[in-house]
């Protein structure tokens, strides 16, 4: 499954084993539903390869893990750069940003100014964002 660029996996060799390609511009709910149903039709023995921007790859990997896939069944090929998903620890909304680790971003859900470190969750496919000025408030 690839995101952003349709031919990201064109050169990916599967040594003659049958393959099923899914290409989407980004990990939209529709794209993830497609992945979910493709996994539902699959049998143990298949491997899933996910390629594209990190945020999309991680969102898809999270869906695959939810379907019971283990790490050995997934290959993640993330682009070197790309936006990050910041998961708000207060309202659980995901905000996409290009800001580097250690900076702040305003949560799209609750408006809290969030700071984030390299604390990454594979389950939610994002970095933990937490109130940037919590200590100062008191």
């Amino acid at each position: 499954m690839s995101f952003d660029t349709a031919d990201a996996l064109k050169d990916y060799a599967t040594a003659g084993v049958s393959r099923h390609d899914l290409c989407f511009t980004s990990a939209t709910p529709d794209a993830l539903a497609n992945l979910r149903s493709a996994l539902g039709r699959s049998r143990v023995g298949v491997r899933v390869v996910l390629a594209g921007p990190p945020a999309d790859v991680h969102a898809a990997a999270s869906v695959a893990a939810e379907c019971g896939l283990v790490d050995e069944e997934m290959t993640l090929r993330c682009n070197e750069v790309g936006p990050r998903v910041i998961f708000c620890g207060h309202c659980h909304t995901s905000t996409t940003t290009d800001h580097p680790i250690g900076t702040n971003v305003d949560c799209q859900g609750c408006g809290t100014t969030l700071t984030f470190t390299d604390h990454f969750s594979r389950r939610v496919g994002g970095y933990l964002g937490f109130s940037a000025h919590a200590e100062e408030a008191a």
Binding site: G40, G68, E73
Partner: protein, 325 residues
Amino acid sequence: MTATALQTKVQPVLEGTLQLEVTNVSAQTDSITSISFGDPLGELLPCYVPGSHLVVQHASGANAYSLTGSGSAPTEYSISVLRVEGGSGGSLAMHALAVGDRVQVSHPRSAFAPAATAKHHLLIAAGIGITPVLSHARYAAEWGASASLIYVHRPGTGAHVAEARALLGAGLTECLDRGSFQEVLTRKLTTQKLGTHLYVCGPTAFMDSVLEQAHDLGWPKGLLHSEAFSGAALDDGEPFTVNLARSGVTLSVPTGVSLLETLENAGLSIPNMCRKGICGECSVPVLAGNPLHRDLYLTDQEKEDNAAMMCCVSRSLDNELELDL
């Protein structure tokens, strides 16, 4: 099932054990008997993870047996034991137990747990290998998890057949011979939905064959779980030397004598239990040298790391090993 013979001198691990009373003995088949142990005062026993085993002490040593219950709020611990004539004596001692007898048992030990993330549990058992798998089936039934079982047994000699039928219904496939099992196995291994984990227990050759076929059909290791019956027969091995860095002692380990025995003879007290490379109790930290890993406990990665070894069965590839003892 894990019917591993243990030697008499391994008592340390049985410290802090439970003293229980035999509450029920019933014949499953001509050669398999189920035995239940309960608290003499009728108290609840510590709960356990499905697939756990219990170490039961008897006059000539101690043996590990799989618990057949689901593990939640147990009032008794039940095991089923196949009588092995000419074995190490454990099965005969178990078969001699009568209601009211007191026995010393360990706390249940988990080494064959169900995967929490599994969407379906494919259970495979041969003969007395049904015991830990029955525990999984009961657990699945109790918690509404999806499970199916392939049970290979000879007509009239299968233990717990009626319970397996009641627990699994259409999810149970019974195979009475090798040919039909092979056919069922190939079909099952190629038709499982993603998220299925496989659990196998039975004779070593049976488990090896199932795991190898699963691997060949693309099943990753993370989905495969097996419960060893007993360790493989090992050769006597080459002699080597061990340096105990902290005690400043050098010991030589001759052919036919284990590192564990050598350490014990030198007066060291190393926690241990099965002495067959299964339980992981006798792990010792390695500082230098390449151990010859012969256990079933460490993962492949841990064996490559060479940071620890099971001193009951493992030896050395080099002439000398340095241990953090």
